[in-house]
């Protein structure tokens, strides 16, 4: 009985999954201390170095700024500097630190005799710091330093210098106050200019650029034009030797320009350029073997209508029968319409596309115009044939003339000098086009019937075509003109294309022209390219010809 009441007490070990497992890693205290000590020493060394570097006074601020704001130089094809970054010194005065104002003024008068000292005296009486001379010469700066006046404070600044001022303004473009390119080459090659140590070489020639610009300035004196432009390009490589657009601006002044007249007329300006398109029409016919230079066009009307719009000849005395070559030489509108109609809409359109007339051109600056888009039709074909109702940039027109005259090789206009082996040449037109068109363009200049006699400069074999167009303003044709002349020379072995454009020239009744016969002729009431732009182009070629003949 007692057994039954017995309680069996069984003690069991409490089993659990959580148990302590002894690590195999046996790290002794000494080892941990040693590692800690090593890290401590290293951190002390680095910290002390960091403190030392931090305590150093930075007196080479200018070098840092120079590195940040550095831009490589721009040079022309002969290695002449067109743009360079230099460190300049600005000097100012803190009036609070001036001890003897009269003495300081006398000393300043000796160093800068031409300054307005009334204003300087007023500023000296004030309390604000003011600049005495920005971009001071070393000579003057040394004299100022020798005065030993504590109130004279100098600061060094990075400046971009353009020694030719406005000569290359539309090519080089501007930079802003933070040294970023905002237009022209400065913007397009901003990254390269910041990263490269070597200067970027352009294709332009400073001497030629200057001579062309001078003649364009003279054109304003003669024809009172609103603006003007010229482009000289190597016909075989597309290298731009000169690109001038007037008005231009002094790059050193860094002015904000909002006036649209300051647009780059060569690359950005999109114009209806008139009869210069007749060359393209005839070239399209030669390319497609549709006409020959002596193909006769008979019974040419003096006026025709297309969808109610009048198309007429500018000169009613033109014969009714003309050959294809004579149509171009005498600049017949109706004749060009007939040639274009023979070519046909599709072939004509394809030809213009091949020459790159209708699409935006790739160039080395961002200021490039977009040719106006339009819907093709029979009337558009007719008007386009003589350059009416079709607009493009002068740069693209010069490119098209180059291809037509250089044997049919495509070129890419460029401002950056490249090695000749890197220039790719692709043939896009037949040889015959140049062989047929160049002698005809020569006759436009050399024969009496032609419209460009003033450009017949002996020795240079000038060939070319004139274009007189009414300027379109806000979609409406005005009486103002855009007069253009595109020339190729020497025509027997073309090397250069020169395009000259005058924006809104006015006839000059007082100007004395010298005709090819040597006779003098006073006064002109004709506001055509032949009497305005060709004259200027002739003068340009006369001046730059010797350089081109001897140097290129």
């Amino acid at each position: 009985m007692e057994k039954k009441n017995e309680t069996n007490l069984i003690l069991e070990d409490y089993k659990t999954h959580f148990y302590y497992q002894k690590s195999n890693l046996n790290i002794s205290f000494n080892r941990v201390t040693f590692i800690f000590f090593v890290f401590l020493v290293i951190s002390i060394i680095f910290s002390s170095k960091a403190l030392y570097l931090g305590s150093l006074k930075k007196n080479e601020n200018n070098i840092e700024v120079a590195k940040l704001d550095y831009r490589a130089s721009l040079i022309d094809r002969d290695g002449n500097i067109l743009a360079k970054t230099v460190i300049t010194t600005n000097v100012g005065i803190n009036p609070n630190l001036v001890i003897n104002k009269d003495k300081l003024l006398i000393n300043l008068k000796l160093i800068f005799p031409n300054k307005d000292y009334k204003k300087i005296k007023e500023k000296l009486n004030g309390k604000k710091f003011f600049y005495l001379q920005k971009q001071i010469s070393w000579d003057s700066f040394e004299k100022l330093t020798l005065l030993g006046d504590k109130s004279i404070i100098s600061e060094e600044k990075i400046s971009r210098i353009y020694p030719h001022r406005s000569l290359f303004s539309h090519i080089i473009g501007q930079i802003d106050d933070d040294n970023n390119g905002i237009s022209g080459i400065e913007k397009f090659y901003d990254y390269e200019l910041r990263k490269n140590n070597k200067p970027i070489q352009l294709t332009v020639d400073t001497d030629i650029q200057y001579l062309i610009r001078e003649e364009l300035i003279k054109s304003k004196e003669i024809f009172n034009n609103l603006g003007s432009a010229a482009l000289l390009m190597d016909i075989n490589t597309g290298e731009v030797i000169s690109l001038v657009s007037l008005p231009d601006f002094d790059l050193n002044k860094r002015e904000t320009i909002e006036d649209l007249n300051y647009t780059n007329k060569v690359t950005k300006g999109v114009y209806e350029l008139g009869s210069v398109f007749k060359t393209l029409t005839l070239a399209a016919a030669f390319e497609n073997n549709i006409v020959e230079p002596d193909t006769n066009f008979e019974k040419l009307e003096k006026k025709i209508f297309c969808a109610g719009n009048l198309i007429s000849e500018y000169d009613n005395k033109l014969p009714t029968n003309l050959t294809a070559a004579q149509i171009l030489i005498r600049s017949s509108n109706i004749g060009s319409v007939r040639i274009a109609q023979k070519v046909g809409l599709e072939k004509y359109k394809n030809f213009l596309n091949k020459l790159g007339i209708l699409s935006k051109i790739e160039f080395d600056i961002e200021e490039v115009g977009q040719p106006l888009k339009f819907r093709w039709g029979k009337c558009k074909l007719a008007t386009s044939s003589f350059g009416h109702g079709i607009a493009t940039t002068p740069l693209q027109l010069a490119k098209a003339y180059s291809i037509i005259s250089n044997g049919g090789y495509e070129i890419k206009p460029t401002l950056i000098k490249k090695e000749k082996k890197n220039i790719q040449i692709k043939k896009i037109l037949k040889n015959e086009v140049s062989q047929k068109i160049n002698p005809i363009l020569r006759k436009v200049v050399s024969t009496k019937e032609g419209t460009a006699n003033f450009a017949n400069i002996p020795g240079y074999e000038i060939a070319g075509k004139t274009g007189t167009a009414n300027k379109v303003k806000n979609g409406i044709y005005t009486k103002d003109k855009i007069n253009t002349f595109v020339s190729i020379f020497p025509f027997s072995n073309p090397k250069f294309v020169l395009l000259v454009l005058l924006d809104e020239p006015k006839p000059n009744k007082e100007y004395v022209y010298t005709l090819s016969s040597g006779q003098k002729y006073k006064g002109n009431w004709r506001n055509t390219a032949g009497w305005t732009t060709v004259l200027i182009a002739g003068q340009i070629i006369k001046n730059i010809g010797p350089i081109l003949a001897t140097k290129y």
Binding site: V86, P163, H164, P490, T550
Partner: protein, 102 residues
């Protein structure tokens, strides 16, 4: 034995690297100094060139011409200019501009 060879070769490599680095340190320093000199001289050259370009710019040259040689420099007809060429000790005189129309 392998272990000794390995340690020995590592030691030689370390030693060789140290010696090489030490010997090239001087050359590195010289190269750096030369580069700095070139940079400085290039900068000086460009500044002198800048002055030269400004003083001999076409604008300045025409100003000098008007000032000093107003009546002395006369334009020459380019058609009258000839060029002399030497070939195998023979002298050839050629027109500078060949006119295909004549």
């Amino acid at each position: 034995m392998k272990r000794i060879v390995l340690i020995f070769s590592i030691l030689i490599l370390i030693l060789a690297t140290t010696v090489t680095k030490h010997s090239t340190k001087k050359i590195d320093k010289e190269i750096f100094n030369l580069k700095e000199d070139i940079r400085f001289l290039t900068d000086q050259y460009e500044l002198v060139l800048l002055d030269y370009n400004y003083l001999s710019s076409p604008k300045k040259l025409l100003e000098y011409q008007q000032k000093f040689f107003e009546n002395e420099l006369v334009p020459v007809d380019i058609q009258n200019l000839n060029q002399i060429k030497f070939n195998n000790k023979k002298v050839f005189i050629k027109k500078l501009i060949e006119n295909s129309e004549n």
